[in-house]
Amino acid sequence: MRKELPLAITFVVGLIVVLANFLAPQTFVKINNEVRTWFQLVSSLFCALGVANLTRIHGKKVSQQSEGWIFSVIMFIAMFGFMITALSVGQQSALYNNLYNNTIVPLNATMYSILMFYIASAAYRAFRVRSMEATLLLIAAAIVMLGKAPIGEVVLGKWVATWTNWILAVPNTAGMRGIQLGATLGGIAMALRVLLGIERAHFGGVGGE
């Protein structure tokens, strides 16, 4: 039953959701609405599960003083500090807002901004005219980079913006559409496999049949 019960639940609930969306029989629609509410509640529970799991893993690191354990301590201070602050003084309090806006926001923004350096370094090393395809890629990248920054039009003229828009609207759209269609068809196939119990990796098994 350990394997069969989750598979049966997956199949039944999945079938209800699919039928509620495509055929919309009233009973299934009502059950689907209830399932959605439960989905929201379970999603929230995942956060609690995440906190518990992080505490377990990093608690072990701290107790054993493994390599980098000091960062686990910092993680605990940050995680529980914010939780306790939010629960005690509220998310609208000046203390919480100051903490949030002066730590999480700049740190989050910094992590994203660091990408600029990696992209610059990667572009410098990767964009080499080794072949015809690589040359075309380089030319397209150069045109788009100049077209997206105002300096391109100022120095080279309006044609740079025109070509940039053409590259994004025509070859890029064509390629992305193909990729998205393929990815969607793959997603449908995977969903069918999960629904029918062929794919069981998410149950902790290894791969499917």
Binding site: N33, R36, T37, F39, Q40, L41, S43, S44, C47, G90, Q91, Q92, Y100, N101, I104, V105, P106, L107, N108, A109, M111, Y112, S113, M116, F117, I119, A120, S121, A123, Y124, R125, F127, R128, V129, L138, A142, M145, L146, K148, A149, P150, I151, G152, E153, V154, K158, A161, N165, L168, A169, N172, T173, M176, R177, Q180
Partner: protein, 269 residues
């Protein structure tokens, strides 16, 4: 020159960006048609219409998305269009609150709960949107980001019970869940027009939606935000960032060019 130490590239980039921020060059920013289309679509809304703003981004997206979000808020408040803000991302409520903290004082006659409201983040991803299509307050679990009970005495919910009552939607997104979910759940099935404001790296994957007409224009990254700021006549951080972006792009292109020149010279030998 083929293998310049990456730290040299980093230092030159930092110097270029900081220089441009300290001594702006004032490069002119032309308006792209896709940004104009997005602006025109929102400008066509009537007083009393409800625009739903999906704040589906985190702090990393602030430089690129927040300026356009503020400009859209400004445009809507000027036109007496109501705004309902919520999102599928954890930071949605906080991002909306940041925007309101700066923009709401510009409109002292506009009232929270009457002209705009921040429902915040609710769990569920795309399921949140699906529930909001039936009942926004139920999807919001009867509470907004500020802890107020919904619908409470908030008049904004008098004529706005579900996403079906929205006249327009805008998705500000840095990733997944985001644009495809809005199009799949709100745009296509309900026929409600909308537009998107995405970070630069997401522009290519979202262009098919513009081409097919599933969205009305697209605000393309920080450049799009700068264009939108100019369209509402409120140049701000995005316009200020354009010079820095220009110099950064030039630096990267110079290094690519130098690397290729030395590569070709080495190949000839």
């Amino acid at each position: 020159m083929q293998n310049v130490d990456r730290r040299i590239i980093y230092i030159i980039l930092i110097v270029a960006v900081v220089y441009a921020l300290i001594k702006p060059m004032g490069l002119p920013v032309t308006i792209n048609k896709t940004t104009e289309d997005a602006y025109a679509a929102i400008d066509a809304l009537q007083p009393g219409d409800v625009l739903v703003m999906g704040m589906d981004f985190s702090a990393g997206g602030i430089p690129e998305l927040e300026p356009a979000g503020k400009a859209i808020f400004y445009q809507c408040m000027k036109k007496d269009v109501k705004i309902v803000m919520f999102g599928m991302w954890v930071m949605a409520g906080d991002m909306a609150e940041r925007l309101l903290t700066e923009m709401a004082p510009l409109f002292p006659d506009k009232v929270y709960g009457t002209d705009y409201i921040n429902i915040g983040y609710k769990a569920g991803g795309a399921v949140l949107l699906q529930k909001a299509v039936d009942d926004v307050v139920e999807a919001a679990l009867n509470i907004d980001h500020r802890g107020n009970t919904l619908p409470g005495n908030f008049p904004i919910f008098d004529n706005f019970k579900s996403l079906k009552d929205a006249a327009f939607w805008v998705c500000l997104s840095t990733g997944n869940p985001g644009v495809p979910d809005w199009i799949k759940v709100v745009g296509d099935p309900l026929g409600i027009p909308g537009t998107i404001d995405v970070v630069s790296v997401s522009i290519p994957e979202n262009m098919p939606f513009v081409d097919s007409g599933q969205i009305q224009g697209i605000i393309q990254g920080i450049r799009g935000s700068a264009e939108y700021e100019l369209l509402v006549s409120r140049p701000g951080r995005a316009v200020a960032g354009m010079d820095a972006q220009s110099l950064a792009h030039v630096v990267i292109l110079v290094f690519i060019a130098l690397g290729n020149i030395t590569y070709l010279m080495t190949r000839k030998k």
